[in-house]
Each structure stands twice: as C-alpha cells, then as structure tokens.
Subunit: 154 residues, 2 copies
DNA sequence: ATAGATTGTGGGTAGTTGTGGGTAATAATA
DNA sequence: TATTATTACCCACAACTACCCACAATCTAT
C-alpha cells in the first residue's frame, strides 16, 4: 500500500485537457495539511516549468518578500518578478487545477505533462523540455552533481 | 535460533507477482524500528536495481535536499533526479510492497528477484542483471576492490 | 514427531482515480 | 446592450489500486 511522508515525491504522467486543467496526483492532495485548505499557488519555475506551492509554503515566501525594503530598486524588481506570475487556486471536485494560459505558454505545456514532486513543492513539465534541460545541466555541471550525490545519498 | 542486528543482511529469492508485488523478507520487516511505522521508500538504485529505504533513513536524505538552494540549476536537477522516482510505501497484510511499473522496468524485474540486505537499505535485483554488473565491475576495478577489502575486512 | 504458528504466493472485489464532456454562471467584447 | 468567450461545477465511465480472503509450504516449540 502506498502512503505518504507529508512531502511531495515521485513522478506522474498526466494530460492537460483542452480546458487547461491538470490533475494533481491523488497522492499529493493527501500530503497537504489541513491548513492549506486545498489551496495551491502556481507560478513560473526557475526552470521552464510550472511551480506549484501549497499555500502555506507560499505564504512563507510572501512573508520574506514583505520584509524587503521597497527603497532598494533591486528589491522592488525581485518582489515584482516573484509575485507577478503567481496565482492562487483551489482544485475542482475531480482534483484538477486550472492552469493559466500564461503559465501553459511559459512551460510549453501541451497534452502530455510530467508532474514531479520536489519535496516541498511540485513541478509541472513538458517531458521533452525536461529531457533537454536535464542533459544541458548535467553537461555543464556533472562534477558538482557528483559532489552532491556523494554528500547526500546514503 | 536466528536473531538480528537491526541492519539488513543476507539475500532472499522472491517472486514479483502479476500485480507487481514483492514480499519483503520477514527478517527485514522485524529489523525495522518502530518509528518507521512499517514504511519504506523505494527508488532507483545507482545500479539497475530498486533501492528500498526504511523511511527514517530516507528522511535524512530529504532533509539534506531541503537545505539545497533552489537558485542553483544543478541543485534543482539533483533534487529532481533524487526525488522523482521515490515512492513511500507501507507493506500489505501479507508483508508485500507494491512496486511501481517505472521501477520494475528500470530494474528489469521479471518474476524471479533477488532481495539483498545492504546494511541500511535493501536492494531488489533481477538475478541475471546482478551477475552481469558484478562481473563487469570486478573486471574494471578489481584492485580497488582488493584495497577496500584490505582496509575493512578484519 | 506432531500441532500450531508463520511465511510466501495467488486471486476477487469494492472503492478510488484520471479523463472527458455538458451546462449554467460569469466575464469579456463589440 | 447583445453576443461571444471563459470559467466553475456537474455527471459519467474505464482503469487501476487497496484490501480482503485462501492456501500451501516452511518453521518453531513442545
């Protein structure tokens, strides 16, 4: 029987339907603590994918943003770019969230998607893009990758 | 009477049934400390086999992952590749875990499997594959093997 | 040696999950 | 304001999974 760790792990293949909806894996929905009230915040990932935060995790980010002084131009830019693509969502009766066209375009999503648990957030990928990015990063930085593996994998 | 050391040792032959279930050897189940709550995390091994972690061991890994900054692309890649194949599981009433098709394919499992204790984790192998890998590695690195033996075997 | 418990393996079934589409309410556009 | 597009909320259904029971083989203890 599968269970959960209150973190997001594993990958799942889903489809974005014609209305721009994607399923959130049932396993991930179960991971959400009650104080999330079934709410996520979706935004641009640093990679070309959609990041999906449970709302309480996102609120931590917002809180840190609040503490940045608006006197500094770079702070203002950072706050703007972090927040401008963020949309809070509740999933529907079938467990799906409605993506925005903006984010669908940014991540290049098209029918087949890969949803990946990233411990405290979720990523939604176009599988093709992920393959490219992965290859590129490993080429650039494979020694750094090996160092991480050596430190962390038991 | 046999007893145990609270570590995983020994090898056992089991079958993956048509539903993708494998037994966890009763001895290994008894080794789990109470705080594991009968939960394992299965994931890709670095060899073509399935790695099975007791949940508390896995959580140590997750914790290290959480402390990696998402600003670095290689960090994101590492977290993603570490977590994306990981699935938490509880074994069923008969002591079996349900493998994912993804991992069955990765490890090339097919009916007969070899379950091997690896001190703090468990490996599930296709016996044929293990033989090949073993032979290959010994050929490449037999002097390194001897060095390790010299250091470690008393 | 024998009875009882444990262990490994198989299969049935009810409930869950992913996916599609319909319709009414809301928002956007002309 | 009238018309069109978008969104929210249903219902439907096939595929899959969790949970249950069964049973033979092995082990344990008296």
């Amino acid at each position: 029987m599968t269970t959960n760790l209150n973190t997001f792990t594993g990958e799942f293949s889903y489809t974005v339907d014609t209305k721009g909806r994607v399923n959130i894996p049932a396993k991930f929905r179960k991971v959400l603590s009650a104080d999330n009230e079934d709410t996520f915040v979706i935004t641009r990932g640093m990679d070309p994918c959609v990041w999906v935060y449970p709302v309480v995790v996102w609120q931590k980010i917002e809180n840190d943003l609040k503490n940045l002084s608006s006197l500094s131009a770079i702070n203002r830019t950072f706050v703007r770019n972090t927040v401008r693509y963020a949309t809070p969502l509740i999933y529907d009766g079938q467990g799906r969230i409605q993506l925005t066209t903006n984010l669908i375009n940014y991540a290049g999503l098209d029918k087949k998607t890969l949803i990946i648990g990233m411990v405290n957030k979720i990523e939604i990928w176009n599988p093709e893009r992920l393959k490219e990015i992965d290859k590129k990063n490993m080429k650039i930085d494979s020694t750094a990758y090996d160092d991480l593996a050596e430190k962390i994998i038991i």
